[in-house]
Each structure stands twice: as structure tokens, then as C-alpha cells.
Symmetry: C2
Subunit: 252 residues, 2 copies
């Protein structure tokens, strides 16, 4: 038996998210069905580095599966791209040691949240940015975001139905930039809770609009209560950019 990993890019708009659900289109179901075709009918179960929510995109989702069938990386990429729908693609493939697990082996993850803040829409980015008509106050937003960096209990910033045992996570990057006309929130950490990036960004949007002050953030973290944080920012602005592994796969 051989263990493989795949690098996937997808537009999440048409799916209920990564995870397979009965009678609803999921990325997982599409990928497993494409793999079964490519591997000559052998059914496969695929594990992902994380379950992206409905509507969330990925540029660098990493997934893994075992198979008794031998396929070269290039054959997997070609074969999968020939059968996957237009909005899902395999960007790279490779064999990996049997002990590899896409979540447990990961050392970090990079998410990007994109906001278009102005009266002008941007049709060529539609569905991949969240639009707000009010210009963001990045001084306030950055002053607030600074409190998120480091090791914290993020209980206030996860979905109420998040089932993780501990909410302690470490964020080592929270960078907010304005390349031309959009605002990018680049968030990297060792792990993330359900909805965590979206609640963090939603709270920062609430800081920008004046609902919270930047210095309110420490108390919101301390409260460990989802009701104290801000709203959950819309899924379509979020993209899983990259999952980091000790071996650096798939390179640059």
C-alpha cells in the first residue's frame, strides 16, 4: 500500500465545504469520486488538512489517501484534472511516508481574507472578496489585530458548535496590507478552530466600524465566550493559502 498526498485548489462557491455530506455537493465527494476513476475503481477515503467551510476557497489545501494502486505524481495530476469539475483542480501530487497525516504532520497554516472596501465593485474578483462599502480604518484594525498574535485561548473566536477539545492556539503572523484597492488579512498559525479566521476578521471589521475599540480585544479573549466577539465574516472572502509541513512540500 502506498500513501499519497495531493495539493488542491478549489473555488468553494458551489459546495457545502470540504466534508462529505449526504445529498449535498462537497469537495471531498468530488475528489474521492475522481480518485476512484483514476485508480481504476478502487474506492478511496481522503483526509484533508482541515475542513474548509461552505463557500471557502483553497489555493493550497493538502489531502492524503492510501491506495494499493501505484501511480506516478504526474499521472495523478493529469488524471485528476481530466475528471475533476472546473472549480476543483489538483496542483501537485506525491508519495509520502505511511505515517503522514495531513493535520497531525502540519506545522502551520496560512489563510488569507480579502476585503474590498469602497463603493466600486470588482467583477473579476467577484466571489473571492468580501465587499463592504465603508473604507476600513487600518490603524484601528492593526492595533486590534496585534492582540491576537501569540498563544491564546481563542474560545471567543470559534463557532459555538466547534468540537475541538482545547481552544488554545498560536498565531505567529497577522499581517494586514492594502495592495492597491483591497485589504488583505494574512493569518498564519499552528492550528485553527472552526470559523476562527472568520470570527477574528469579523471582529476586526467591527473594530473598524467603531463597535469595539482596539483595546477591547484582550478582555474579549479573556472572556472565552463567543458572544463577546464580533460577527463571523462571510465565507467567500476566505482562502486557505498553504499548509506547512516540515519537509516543505510541495516547494515553491
Amino acid at each position: 500500500v502506498t500513501r499519497y498526498r495531493l495539493l488542491l485548489e478549489y473555488d468553494g462557491a458551489a459546495y457545502v465545504g470540504w466534508q462529505r455530506q449526504p445529498d449535498a455537493p462537497s469537495i471531498q465527494a468530488e475528489v474521492e469520486s475522481a480518485l476512484a476513476q483514476v485508480l481504476g475503481g478502487e474506492p478511496v477515503m481522503v483526509t484533508a488538512s482541515g475542513r474548509t467551510d461552505a463557500g471557502v476557497h483553497a489555493l493550497g489545501q493538502v489531502v492524503s489517501f492510501q491506495s494499493t494502486v501505484e501511480r506516478s505524481p504526474i499521472a495523478l495530476v493529469r488524471g485528476l484534472n481530466a475528471v475533476l469539475p472546473d472549480d476543483i483542480a489538483c496542483r501537485a501530487a506525491g508519495e509520502v511516508e505511511l505515517a503522514f497525516h495531513p493535520i497531525d504532520s502540519a506545522v502551520g497554516k496560512h489563510y488569507r481574507y480579502r476585503v474590498l472596501d469602497g463603493v466600486a465593485r470588482a467583477p473579476l474578483r467577484r466571489g473571492q472578496v468580501y465587499q463592504t462599502h465603508k473604507r476600513l480604518d487600518l490603524d484601528r484594525v492593526r492595533a486590534a489585530a496585534m492582540h491576537f498574535v501569540g498563544c491564546h485561548d481563542f474560545s471567543s473566536f470559534r463557532a459555538s458548535r466547534c468540537s475541538a477539545v482545547t481552544a488554545v492556539r498560536t498565531l505567529y503572523r497577522f499581517e494586514i496590507t492594502r495592495p492597491v484597492d483591497e485589504v488583505r488579512f494574512d493569518v498564519e498559525g499552528t492550528g485553527f478552530l472552526r470559523h476562527m479566521v472568520r470570527v477574528l476578521v469579523g471582529t476586526l471589521l467591527d473594530v473598524s466600524s467603531g463597535r469595539f475599540e482596539p483595546e477591547d480585544i484582550p478582555a474579549i479573549l479573556d472572556a472565552a465566550d463567543r458572544r463577546r466577539a464580533g460577527r463571523t465574516a462571510a465565507a467567500q472572502g476566505l482562502t486557505l493559502m498553504r499548509v506547512h509541513y516540515p519537509d516543505g512540500w510541495p516547494g515553491v
Copy 2:
């Protein structure tokens, strides 16, 4: 009467192009109908800096119209974005002198053609890049493209039904870069013929694949015969990036 200009962004996939056609969706028809609504019912005729083909996109199309109705730039942007479909947006608006003409007043234009060359598809860019499975040989492509820069008769590189009186045009930039995993052809010139960028790029793709040699280009230009050049590259890879005017509108 006041003359206005608008900066438009659009995804061309759903349209027969800029120009209005009976019983077919055009960008021009959408924009004129949106303007009529915003201007309280007054019918308007809009002129563009160029008629983008079916499927071609724009980040910076400039169009102009006259009206007896006074509207502030911000009211035009807001109003148009409220009524235009999702795949067309107004990015900026402004009053301009009555003598302004979006074609005649332009001093240059920038088009970008994007190619994804590899076995991996890219769902988040789908519809905005042209995909070829063979990796481009940029040394050959650049050696050929160098012959296009300057003032030439581009008769070999225009649609057979192009109606321009003279085919002499000046290209002052033909830059080919590979940012990460796509190839970009950035072409700037004082004016363009129908299909010109697409035939230039199509011919360069044929140089990459070996159908032509880079040193064949001068003879193809000299022939002034469309049949001597290469294929017309697909519309979806092409975007009108910017139209240059002496006053630099709309700024950066």
C-alpha cells in the same frame, strides 16, 4: 450638456463583446440601460475606448457619454454599481471636457494576456487565463516578440474583417514574465487593430511550439498577410488593463 467618462471593469465571459448587437447581451447595452436608470430615464449613447471582443475582459475600459443631467462622480459610481449586473462594475467616474473622445484622446493602451502552461488547472483563475498543457519556451517567445516592438504595419496580425484604414501601429512595450506559475504578455501601444493582441500572442505560442522560428517574424510582418501569422489566441486570456490619457485619469 455635460460630458462624463467612466472607468469600467467587466468579466466578458457572458457577453458578445462591448458593442451592442440585436438580441444578444453586450456590455454596451448593459451600461446604457444602467445609465438610463441612473439618469432618470434619459437615453444615453456611450462610446468606448475600443470594442472588446466576445469573452475579453476589462479592468480599465474607459467610456464616455453626454447628458443634460448633472450627477456627481460618486453618485454615478454608486448608482451604476447598484443596477449593473455582477459581472460589470463602474470603478470611477468624472466630468470631462466636451471635446473628449475615449479613442481619439487616448495616447496608449495596455493589454495583458495570461497563459497557464502546465498540467495543473487553476480554478480560482478559471475563465481569465488561457490554458495550454505544454510549458512555454520563454527564450524563443521573447526573441520573437522583440520584433513586434516599434512602428510596424501589422496587417498580418489583424482579423481579416478588420476595417481600420491603415494597419500601421506602434507598440512600445511587449513584456513577457512568469510570475509564479503563469505567463503574462503585457502589451502596450498607441493603438490596436481588431484581434491584434490575440494574433500576436497566438503567433508567439506557435513560436514556442516550433511551428515558427523567432527569426521568421520580420518576414511575417513584411508579408502583410493574415494567413502568414499564427492562430488567434483564445479571448478569455485577454484583459484590457488600462487606457492612457494625457491627464493621467483616473490616477493610480
